[in-house]
């Protein structure tokens, strides 16, 4: 019997012929923490009586979730992280560098075939470039930093195939929202996803990150894709680590195969307060919104802002609403400045904040008021997520958010393209 991508990567890193269901202890190629989770990881590291990390070059900590610090409590955690990185010689990405899940691949830390952990649930993002990357807790990160290894249960795999031709105005975000709505918030719990098909092949690498990023929203452990020529070129441009791409064998065993024909897919929206509460944009069009957000590890890349700028070109964010934009990294912000996207969005009334997670996690940069509706490109719309438990969060593509900002109510972006 052949192997899935997950089985191959976990076999290669554990020195075993690993099959779904096995427990393996595997060598890690890279690991990350962020400011919401690394404080606890440092505490666990100390409690484990460790003195040195196994290899500082294989670790990065990113201050992105609440950055720059909005209060003394956060500042104390940031200082703890900075001191630890300095002490251990670990790469620190301090305030303003960007979101961990943009920086980790962008700065060349991970390449196809790697095994990566991160103390952040959206670590599954790098699956888009054929990395088995998965979210873990802070104490697992501490164990990884000490041992350079972690134990894994080798997951079974769900194969997801997107077929047909993506209609104009429908994007990667709509594909993943459609999948999550179809299989549910626990549709892939304990499973790896292998996502492919002609629709994925036609997407840019940036757009593929959007899809793998949200694998966790249906419970998946990883959101793997093949490393095709586009991915290998992308990786080459972002670093000098040598990739070792893995593909599934033809006779690999899948727990389930899901096929979605996208030819007649409409833009999708996830309604409050669950990501799997999805619908066609037409079902919620007209719902008033007071705040928009374009950014986050899901949709804060150059292409996302270019699409938003195209929708908003020559138009204004409706009076009485505000559009917050948070580029996912300094590099992205610089590219936006260089190609005019940044200026164009500001002219339309968008409000840029520091590269990073922006208001996604409810700590700063735009906590909604009581009872307000927000339309966001983020990956979660849980009650209270943005810091106010009486607000309502809708999720959509950058085009959908931009169109909704023009009207001050949820709108179908296709009429603006």
């Amino acid at each position: 019997m052949g192997k899935t991508i997950a089985e191959k990567i976990l076999s290669n890193h554990s020195g075993r012929d690993a099959k779904a269901g096995d427990i393996v202890i595997a060598d890690l190629d890279f690991m990350i923490g962020q400011d919401g989770t690394s404080g606890v990881a440092i505490d666990s590291f100390r409690k484990m009586q460790a003195r040195k990390v196994f290899d500082p070059k294989k670790i990065a900590i990113i201050i992105d979730h609440s950055s720059p610090s909005p209060n003394e409590g956060v500042s104390a955690i940031h200082k703890k992280i900075r001191d630890f990185c300095l002490e251990q010689g670990i790469k620190l990405y301090d305030v303003g560098c960007g979101v961990c899940h943009q920086l980790t691949p962008e700065q060349g830390h991970v390449v196809p075939g790697d095994l990566v952990i991160g103390a952040d649930s959206h670590t599954c993002t790098y699956g888009a470039i054929n990395v088995f990357s998965t979210g873990i807790g802070s104490t697992d990160l501490a164990a990884g930093m000490i041992a350079g290894k972690l134990w894994f249960k080798v997951p079974e795999t769900m194969k997801v195939v997107f077929t047909g031709k993506l209609p104009a105005g429908v994007y990667a975000k709509d594909l993943i929202l459609k999948l999550i709505g179809q299989i549910g918030a626990d549709g892939a719990t304990y499973l790896a996803l292998e996502i492919g098909g002609e629709v994925i092949d036609a997407l840019s690498v940036d757009a593929r990150f959007t899809i793998s990023n949200m694998a966790i929203e249906c419970g998946a452990k990883a959101g793997l894709m093949n490393a095709d020529a586009k991915v290998l070129e992308w990786v080459k441009q972002h670093g000098d680590k040598k990739p070792a791409p893995q593909t599934a064998d033809k006779d690999a065993l899948y727990k389930q195969v899901v096929e979605i024909d996208v030819t007649s897919l409409e833009p999708q929206v996830a309604r409050p307060h669950q990501v799997d509460n999805t619908c066609n944009v037409s079902a919620v069009a007209g719902t008033p919104v007071q705040q928009g957000l374009i950014g986050t590890c899901t949709n804060g890349r150059l292409e996302d802002f270019q699409i938003a700028a195209k929708v908003l070109k020559g138009k204004k964010v409706k009076t009485g609403t505000r559009l917050i934009i948070a580029p996912s990294s300094t590099e992205i912000m610089m590219a936006m400045i260089k190609d005019g996207t940044y200026q164009s969005l500001i002219e339309s009334g968008a409000v840029p904040v520091t590269p990073g997670c922006g208001p996604c996690v409810g700590t700063h940069n735009g906590v909604p008021s009581d009872g307000e509706n927000v339309i966001s490109t983020a990956n979660r719309n849980f009650l209270g997520r943005m810091g106010n438990r009486t607000a309502f969060i809708y999720l959509g593509s950058p085009a959908t958010v931009a169109a909704s900002m023009i009207e001050g109510r949820i709108a179908d972006p296709r009429k603006y393209l």
Binding site: T139, D186, G384, R385
Partner: protein, 169 residues
């Protein structure tokens, strides 16, 4: 091993998909480092009265996909420091499940339909059952994976590492 305590249900119902943002909001987890302080906000966004209904040794009881979403270890930490002895749910999201045992917190999969707020429960781990003394019935529980038994017996991953100097699972 066995534990006795009362069932405490967020919103006093069996709720599915309780995510870790609900267990502990980002508003608190980013700035509060003291786990005893975090514990006071456990489940606050979903059920603001939850913490005030707790007594030491209670069990948190919920539906399927408990702990979905964020990887924050502050979620099982807030539960543990609120003196909740175990989480009983129909199913768990994988990062949360792993984090529980890493902290030495018991998480049990069982059919929780029929358990009501305040029911007196006994978890009989060796017997593979939960006895609902209030309702006079037994619920079968799925056996704990061997790795989780090891972590639980050692008192969590920190103690496991101190004991073995690395992974011994």
């Amino acid at each position: 091993m066995s534990w006795q305590g009362k069932a405490k249900l967020p919103t006093q119902k069996i709720v599915n998909d309780i995510n870790t943002d609900y267990v502990i909001s980002g508003r608190y987890k980013f700035k509060i480092q003291d786990p005893n302080e975090l514990a006071k906000h456990v489940m606050e966004d979903l059920d603001p009265d939850f913490y005030s209904r707790l007594a030491p040794g209670d069990f948190l009881v919920a539906g399927s996909n408990f702990g979905c979403g964020s990887s924050r270890e502050q979620a099982p930490m807030a539960i543990k420091y609120a003196n909740i002895a175990a989480v009983i749910a129909k199913s768990f999201a994988r990062i949360f499940y792993r984090n529980c045992f890493n902290l030495g917190l018991l998480a049990i999969e069982a059919d929780t339909d029929g358990i009501a707020e305040g029911d007196e429960l006994e978890i009989d781990l060796d017997g593979g059952r939960i006895i609902n003394k209030t309702k006079g019935r037994e619920i079968k529980i799925a056996p704990l994976p061997r790795t989780m038994q090891t972590l639980l017996a050692d008192g969590g991953l920190v103690e496991h590492f101190k004991k073995h100097g690395g992974f011994k699972i």
